[in-house]
Each structure stands twice: as C-alpha cells, then as structure tokens.
C-alpha cells in the first residue's frame, strides 16, 4: 500500500507546489466538512431542545398518574399510596384531588376563567413534583398569616390559601394577598326556590407558582388536600395518585405494575395510568420526526459533497490519464491504480470529516458556553492576515518562502478561530421572544456522540462509494490508449 499512498498523496497536492493542497481538493474537503459540521450542530440543537423539555417535564411532573376510569373518587388512599411507595422502582407517591373550577377574582363580578385545581398534601407533593421549589411565597396553606389578615380585612369567611400559576395570576389581575373566589356548586335560593345561587369559597393567594412549564403556570391553582376534600365533600377520598419513579424512562413498565399492585374493588372501578411520555407523546414524536428529517436532509448535503469528490476524482483521472498509462507500463496493476484514486478520495473524505466534526463540536461548545466573550470588535484581528494577503497579491514579485507561508496560514487560522470565538455566542431565546414557547432561556445545545459517530460513518460510506466509479474508471484505462492520451 505504500506505493499507492506515495502516489495518491502527491496527487492531492498541487502540481506547482505553490499551495500545499490543490484548490480543487480544498473545495471538496470543505464541502464534506460543511455537511458534517451542520449536521452535528443541527442535531445538537434538536437534541438540546428534547433534553431541555424532558428535564423540565421530569423536574415538576409526575412520571405516572394513577386514577380510576371516569375520574371517580376512592377512599383508603393513604394505604394505596403506601402500597405504591413500597414498590422498589418508586421514589414517592402523592394523593391528589384534581378538578376544574370556575373562578372570579374579588374585584370582578363575573367568572373570569375556569382553572385546574390540584388539592395536595404539600410534603408528599414535594417528593413527587418538587412543588415548593417553584413557589414564590408561602406553602403553609392552613396557617399562613395572609389568611387571617385577609379574613380580618374583608370580614369574609376564608376557606384556605391557594398557590396560583404565575401567568394565570397575571391574567386574572391578582397578586399575593388577594382573594380568589371559586364557584363550587349551585344552591337553591332560600326564599325563591326557582332561583339558583352560586355557592362560593374564598381562597387567599399565598404565592405564585412559576415552573416555566406553560401548562401549569397558565392554568393551575394549588390548594391543600383537606380544603379540596371539604370543598367537594369528599372526606378521606381523592381521585388521583401522582407517582415519581427512580427511572423515568421505565414509566410504561412500572405503570403497568402499579395498576396490578394497587387493589381496587369492583364497586370502585378500574384503575388506569398515564405516563409522562404519553402526556407529551405528540411533542416527542414531532421532535423525533424532525430529527429523522434532519438526518435525511443532511445525508443529502453530504451526498452533494460526495458528488463533489466524485467529480474531483473524475477530473483527476482525466488529467492523470497519461500518468496512469505510465504507471501501468512500469508494472502497476489495475488494483494498484484503483487504490491510488480511492486513497485520494478517501483522504479528501476523511480530512473533510475530521475538519467538519471539529468545527461542529467547537461551534456547539461556543453556542452552549456562557463564558464572557470579548466584544465583536475584536473580530477585526482578521484584518491583519487580509492586509498581508493583499500586499502579497499586489507585489507579485514577493516570493512566498515556506516559513512565511506557514506563518501566514497560522495567522489566518488564529484569526478565524478568534473571530468564531468572539462571534458565536449562546442564542438567547428571551431576546428573540421565544422563551415562553420553548420554555427555555437560551437555545439548548446537547451534542449527541452517537450521532457524531453515526454521521461520520455515514459520510465515510458515502464518500467511499463516490470514489468507486472514478477509481474503477482509472483502473480500466487501456495502458496504450492512456499513454497516447493528450
């Protein structure tokens, strides 16, 4: 193979030795590099979004939700919670009353919204969804001074405290210490029995819940489980159990086991579970589809780069036809000739892949790293090599000695690297006004090493295939005709 490497490496360089590698090789290498770098970057962003969302979901959401068909209430819930917590895959379980209620703030006389109410036992809920870490305010539903204060100021019966989703509170126009009225049910008018009156319950806003998960921040209110039970007259009963698992990814299997483990009587009804994956299935499948589409598109980009390699090689074969004839005369076999051109294509492909992988990973790192960068103005260091290059171009007589050329090349490299370092920064979703859609503050980046390897293997295969035809063409040149080729 040494002979083939010797010839191929010489062909990769330019004939007059003015530039280290001929322009056409550089263009081909650049094509592959760009393709590989883009795919690594795009996949890293998609991956980052997926992981960011997942982390967020897993941080403040139950992994499995257990309820009965028809959302019926059931008793003995503490026993059942204990049963679930007894399972080795489970970290914690929390009994919850989940319902919807129409509300109006105290300054309004019409119903403003229908919100979800989660009646919780704060300690148990904390273990499952990390509830209190997202609350700005008190989670003492029963004894918060705000409750007594509100009752005293308004001279009204206050049922309890509520923690309200932050965005919901903004929408309703109420703040901490304000009262939110629930329409619990309708009762007959004490005198005129043909009329119905709403039965109201007053809750004082104790704090705001801000998890950056739009669903909760926009639609949920949290009250104490006892208050919820009283509200619905369901003493010692709940309608849902939220469960946190050790391995979130195993949710489906564990959910099935939970259904088996927790005993319900026939009268109570059939249990059913929902996993976090099922809840967010449309989102995750959309992300997966996006990834597949991206990989396909990127494969096409690399295919274009491979065509570039193929045409480079075909041109080389045409240019070197006479040389092929000479080499055959000297006793090189078809296999030798084929190897020479395949090595040439392979080297272009490998250099492109290495360069692309490095560039892709460096860009990912720059986009993800929050270190403070110098101002964009520092990017003007590029002016130095540009000026030098112009001077050299204008004074053609100035011959480029090896060391000078190397120095200039190094200057370019440092200049470009530094410019990239200055200019490529994390992309702020807040500034773009997208933070509430993606529920993240900056464009998330997570390099998937599996994909990095995958895309390299794929690119290598594509490039290798691209070399086959030109190499075969070169190998099958007839020696005599090749020698006479002009």
């Amino acid at each position: 193979m040494r002979f083939e490497w010797f010839v191929a490496s010489r062909y990769l360089r330019s004939r007059r030795k003015q530039s280290f590698i001929s322009i056409i090789s550089i263009i081909s290498i650049g094509g592959v590099a760009l393709g590989v770098a883009t795919v690594i970057l795009v996949i890293a962003v998609l991956n980052g979004v997926e992981h960011g969302l997942k982390d967020r979901f897993l941080a403040n959401e139950a992994h499995v939700v257990l309820r009965l068909f028809g959302n019926d209430f059931f008793s003995n819930y503490q026993e059942r919670v204990a049963q679930i917590e007894g399972m080795e895959e489970v970290v914690a379980a929390s009994p919850v009353i989940l319902s919807q209620v129409a509300v109006f703030p105290e300054h309004s006389e019409t119903i403003q919204d229908v919100i979800y109410i989660k009646g919780i036992e704060p300690k148990q809920e904390d273990a499952v969804t990390g509830f209190s870490q997202f609350v700005n305010g008190s989670v003492d539903f029963k004894n918060s001074p705000l409750i007594k204060e509100a009752a005293f100021l308004r001279d009204e019966t206050i049922t309890g405290g509520i923690i309200l989703g932050a965005r919901l509170a903004t929408r309703l126009g109420i703040a901490k210490g304000d009262v939110l009225r629930f329409v619990v049910k309708l009762v007959k008018h004490p005198i005129d029995e043909a009329r119905l009156l709403p039965d109201l319950a007053n809750f004082v806003v104790l704090g705001l819940y801000e998890s950056e998960m739009a669903v909760y921040d926009n639609n949920f209110g949290f009250i104490h489980i006892d208050a919820a039970q009283a509200l619905y007259k369901k003493a010692n009963r709940v309608n849902t159990i939220f469960v946190r698992l050790k391995e979130a990814e195993l949710a489906s299997q564990v959910a099935a086991r939970i259904e088996e483990t927790v005993q319900f009587t026939v009268l109570e009804g059939m249990p059913t579970t929902t996993t976090w994956m099922e809840t967010h299935a449309p989102l995750f499948s959309a992300l997966r589809l996006e990834k597949i589409a991206t990989v396909l598109i990127e494969a096409l980009i690399i295919l274009v780069a491979a065509f570039n390699i193929a045409s480079t090689l075909i041109m080389t074969v045409m240019e070197k036809t006479k040389d092929v004839g000479t080499l055959r005369t000297l006793g090189a076999s078809r296999g030798n000739i084929m190897s020479i051109f395949m090595i040439q294509g392979g080297v272009i492909g490998m250099l492109g892949m290495t360069l692309g992988t490095t560039l892709g990973i460096v860009l990912c790192w720059l986009l993800a790293s929050n270190t403070v960068r110098p101002s964009y103005w520092f990017a003007f260091v590029l002016v130095v090599p540009i000026l030098l290059q112009v001077v050299i171009a204008l004074r053609r007589t100035l011959s480029l000695r090896g060391s000078l050329k190397f120095g200039l090349g190094l200057l370019w490299l440092v200049g470009i690297a530094f410019t990239l370092y200055c200019a490529v920064r994390p992309i702020s979703l807040v500034e773009l006004g997208l933070s509430h859609i993606y529920q993240m503050n900056q464009l998330p980046i997570k390099v998937s090493w599996f994909f990095v390897i995958f895309i390299n293997v794929l690119s290598f295969l594509i490039c290798w295939l691209a070399t086959l035809y030109p190499a075969w063409q070169a190998a099958n040149l007839k020696p005599v005709e090749a020698l006479q080729h002009e």
Partner: protein
Amino acid sequence: MTKNALIRIVDLQKSYYDGETELPVLQGVNLEVYASEVLAVVGASGVGKSTLLHIIGTLDRPTAGRVFYEEHNVFDLPDRDVARFRNERIGFVFQFHHLLPEFTALENVAMGALITSPNSGAVYEKARELLDYVQLSERLEHYPSQLSGGERQRVAIARALINQPKVVLADEPTGNLDRRSSDSVLELLWNLNVKSGQTFIIVTHNQELAQRADRVVHLVDGKVV
C-alpha cells in the same frame, strides 16, 4: 539457430476496429528475439511497429497468436501477474519521455521498484546509482519540467532499468531529440547492452541506429520480412 530464443512470437495478429470495419495491423508476425541482442525493428510509418512493441511489452493484447517468454505464454496469465511480469522483466523507453510530472527525477526512476519493494531506502539508493550512471547525479531533486529533453530521456532510460529487466523495449528513443542529445542517448543504450547484457528491441526510423544493431527486421504490410 543454436541459441534458445528469449522471446518467441508466433503468428501474431492484431486488428483495430472502427465500428464494423476491421483494420488489420499485424497479420501474422513470426519473430524470435535472443538474449543480449540489440534488435532494430524498422518500417514505414503506420505499419505496426509500435503496436508490435506494445504487445511484446504486454501493454496490449493480440487479436490472435502468442508471445512466449522463455516458452511461457504471458497472455495466459491473469492481469495481476502480467502487471508483475511487466514490472520485473520489461523496461520501456518511449519517444516521449512519459515521466510523471509531480515526481522528481529520483522518484520517477524509483517508481517502478516502489510498486513492489517494501524497502524504499534500498530502492532510492539504486535509483541514485542509475542516475549517476546516466550522468544526472546533479539533477536528482529536479522535476521533469526543470530538465532538458535529453536529460528527461536519460531519466526515462534510468527508470527502465531500475528492476534490472531482461528486456528493454524502446520506441523511437531518439525521435524527439536533437542530434547531440540523440547521440548521447544512443551511446548510453549501447554501453548498457555491453555492460549488463540486456536485450534491446528498438523501433526506429534512424538508419544510423539500425545499422549499429545486431540484427534488423523490416516490418512490411503487417509482416516481418
């Protein structure tokens, strides 16, 4: 003949095809070439001298007939072995030098041996000796474009000799050179023949060269007369 033929050519035919039309070039060439002789092949242009040389050199396959090297029919061998055979046994010198432009004189000379030899150090040493022999020891690192016509042809001769082939095939080796270069190249060829006893088959128009050869064959109408 008492001597055993090094190369025996039996009823060699070669035709080129232009669409349906057959253009016969060689029409039954019979020829024996003996070890250590200088054989000149002369004939009018287009009579098939070069074609004959290419077939003897295994660069082309005959339409019919056989070429025996020491009683082995080379065209029975698979392509890979033919290449190997050509590499080890045959040296070529063409009218045009056919040096590889990307490689130095030294590398061009070494090329033929680098194909098979794992020991490049020894190969370059040998190449250096050969270039010294053709009086180009000052030109080792020069590229073909930096050499004169005569120098290029001398490099080409050195290249043909790197694997010590039994047969050197030369196709109008001086056809493209001026008088002085031509003389020095011819002198070199003869010295080689005397020194190393290699067999030379030289296709030429050059009368002087033909007269100096041990034997001259005339190719007329695709046959040896």
